[in-house]
């Protein structure tokens, strides 16, 4: 009997190692170590042809305050925030209505939201070049109406349209599952206690779906910040966003330490938003 105890313990350890060992081993080598490298590069001097020289320095961080880069950061935060807000304004009513549809239509409406998301990201961006071009359908339509064509492509508006198009489904899905989970009786209770529909929305529906709102915002805001393709293709390279800056530090300027600092900043924003999301989930409480 005593001999079986260690055997069972070994069996458990073997089970753990056999199932999680390969996966976490892989993730350690190809994700954690690379992330640690990037993190460590933030405090070293740049090498002349990429890479780093192992001399500690704080100048990579102070360069963030350089007006040249600060403008880029502020500008990209602004565009990403506008995109997120628009996604919320379009996404919330859409998610709300989908949650109210009969089961059959619900599935169709959800698949229809996800479908464009499964098509190639570059193709989706390219579609907007075609759409917004000075001779494209939108301007042709304006001309046909006897109006002056408008410059649409290579503007901040085009970047926002592209980002919104790329990430709107990521806003709608968490919103949908948050609204779907809401107990309809809570809205009835609110009306029963004398609240008009608008008041019920602000006091009950919105606070209880806030975790979904914040999840959606994380899913839209963070990748918008880090995107470099859309600013390049739809913004014509005039507007540089954080994503472009990071790419350039690694592939053109060869300033890996500064690029690492910028990447760290994006990760910091992500972590901050995730904490906000966790806080909102706790606040919304478990169901009554």
């Amino acid at each position: 009997m005593t001999a079986r105890q260690p055997a069972r313990f070994l069996g458990k350890a073997a089970g753990r190692l056999a199932t999680m060992g390969p996966g976490f081993g892989f993730l350690t080598v190809f994700m954690l170590v690379p992330l640690a490298l990037v993190l460590s590069y933030t405090v070293f001097r740049r090498g002349r042809f990429g890479g780093v020289v192992y001399e500690p320095t704080g100048e990579n961080f102070t360069r963030l305050a350089d007006p040249l880069y600060l403008d880029v950061v502020i500008g990209s935060v602004k565009l990403a925030a506008i995109t997120t807000l628009l996604a919320l304004l379009l996404g919330y009513p859409t998610a709300y209505l989908i949650a109210k549809l009969p089961a059959r239509w619900k599935v169709i409406a959800l698949v229809a939201v996800v479908l464009p998301f499964w098509t190639n990201f570059l193709i989706r961006t390219y579609a907007w070049i075609v759409l917004l071009n000075s001779e494209g359908p939108v301007n042709s339509g304006l001309k046909a109406l006897g109006l002056e064509p408008v410059k649409l492509l290579y503007t901040d508006g085009a970047i926002v349209a592209g980002l919104l198009y790329a990430y709107l489904p990521l806003m709608i899905l968490p919103l949908y599952s948050a609204v779907e989970k809401l107990d309809p009786e809570l809205r009835e209770a609110s009306a029963n206690l004398g609240a008009r529909p608008a008041r019920t929305f602000w006091s009950v529906t919105l606070p209880l779906s806030l975790p979904g709102v914040l999840t959606g915002c994380v899913f839209v805001f963070v990748p918008s910040l880090g995107n470099f393709v859309i600013p390049e293709l739809l913004g014509g390279g005039r507007r540089i966003m954080v994503g472009n800056l990071i790419r350039d530090q690694f592939l053109k300027a060869r300033d890996w330490p500064f690029g690492s600092v910028l990447a760290l900043a994006v990760i910091a924003v992500l972590v901050l938003l995730l904490f906000a999301q966790a806080w909102a989930s706790r606040r919304a409480g478990r169901g009554a």
């Binding site: 809570l186 609110s190 009306a191 029963n192 004398g194 009950v204 919304a284 409480g285 169901g287 009554a288």
Partner: protein, 355 residues
Amino acid sequence: MTLISIDGVSRRFGEVTALDSVSLDIRQGEFFALLGPSGCGKTTLLRILAGFEQPDTGSVRLDGSDLLAIPAHRRPVNLMFQSYALFPHMSVEKNVAYGLERERLPRAEIRERVAAVLETVGLTAQARRRPHELSGGQRQRVALARAVVKRPRLLLLDEPLSALDKKVRSEMQLELKRLQHEVGITFVVVTHDQEEAMSLADRIAVMNGGRVEQVDAPADLYERPRTPFVAGFIGANNLFTGKVTEKGLEVDGLGVLPAPAGPVEGETAMLAVRPERIRLDPVTEDQGVLRGRVVDVSFYGGVSHVALSLAGHDRNLLAATQGRARVETGAEVVIAWDADDAALVPTEVSGGQPS
């Protein structure tokens, strides 16, 4: 004085008729119950009163004015939900204050009234807690306080005791009655549990298949059911169907059974005899109408139940006696009751048969 007057209300959901021209009066200050099996339409009626549902036809008046014209959030009617529907992101006091804030009352008054109602339901110490930190009984008190604090003309309670365990139930039952007495609000409780309805309500409307079968005080429902459904639904009953004659009810295979004077002679009727009204005597000579054999005797402390088989009757008969039964399984007994202790129910009036 009539508070709520429901007249000819019908509601269909596709193929299903939830309410079939229901008419009811609910009096000012009474404790009223809507009782019936699930699917009888009682919840639909409740939702119509609260304003979450509109009837297809019929009218509902409160104090003589049209209630259906008022949107849900402006009705002087509050509902205690079966699930309680407490707002999970608000504390107990915020939940209770929510309805008062919608009336734009001064803050001081809201604070005062919330404190007073929490005192009444004994939750002053839990005012800052969130719903998920409370026990089932405490949550129910919050739901009750939240509805009562609005001082509605009518308070609706949807299966108020169903989610509580047995011990808390009887406590809450007393508390509900005390509260209703204290605040003087008209209560309407919806339930499928007849004990709940019988113990709480002044009057009960028994519903079945979207119709109101009978409206009466609990004791009258028990003693004088007016439809076969009510006779079968309320309490245990021994039911016989037969033809009304001068001497009683003539049942095929059993003979003429003692029955009170009632419907017109020659018509079909149902006779209902409560188990506790049945006398069991040892067989002597040729006395008594019915003879039966004891199938089973079970002792429940205060009372004993005796199951009897009757020749010529497909169902067992149930008799209840105080204390220990004086008969044994297998014994042959004479079964008897007084004609006036039984109830005779016309079967033609309602199509509803107890299942």
